[in-house]
Amino acid sequence: MWRMPARTLGVLTSVLLLLGPAACRSEGEGPPVPPSSAGPRVSEDEIAAGIEWQRQLIAKGTVGKTEFESAAARVQACLTPFQVEVRNEGWDPVEQQKILLLFRNLAMDQDTLGRLTDQCQIAYLEQVADAYKRGRPPRMTTKLHAAVVECLRRRDIAVDNAPIDPFAFQQALPEAQWHTLSSCVDESAKELYPNLSLVKFP
């Protein structure tokens, strides 16, 4: 049985709280009270419609790369009216569970940009991304994994049978070596994937 995620429930609850007083207001009580927040925002109708689109997509069956990429494209379309540029840097090579998306509108303050990108991702991507991850443990690309192991060897850290799961890889090393591991992932990823704007680990 499908259960509504807590964050989704939070959004819908907020919609009801915002709309509720307006719906119950009787004549003569003055103008409707505007939402407490100002500035551009994704309409609650679009968020609700997007969440329903995700639910139906997931209900069809397995969520694969095609569905994830479709959801990412909808996030981009959702942000287009706000002149937000979306940069798709492809699948994260460190864990291959998500597409790296970056967002820019140089005329917009970061708080507004963050709010809009959050709202569009909640609408079109969040549940699809969660569904994609289910049954697909995080794993480095083969060439990144090999490069990281070689980097660690050069720094006198032997890692036989190093896990391909970056979280497990980290846990396989003592905490004192985590910084070296992070450095090796960072260096290796930037060398192998020079177009990435950032490296996320684990």
Binding site: T117, S182, F201
Partner: protein, 117 residues
Amino acid sequence: MQISKRKSVRVALATGMAAIATVAMTPQPASAAAASYTKTRSGCTYKYYSSSTLAWSQKVSGGCSGHAWVRATLASGFLTGWYDSTGYIEISASSSNRIVESQHKSQADETPWVHRP
């Protein structure tokens, strides 16, 4: 992924809290350099670090279900998505496209600690 100050305010409304209280409790940004911050919430301790090439969040201790979250704005003007982990999560950028702002939080629905290195 994600949560903005706006959403935190909405959640505050939903729970009957005054939105202004949420804003007032927001940790203030530190000086314009690398900085770290320790947050305690519900008996759990989280550590945050922010510099021009590295930003990380870590749940150091406690049994809270909240993850460690981080996202950043790069010099190119691009804002990353939120990344989270049950323990430690970091974002590294290159010196040619450095981090100009990072945001850190200890659970999805929370006003982040913001730093501009």
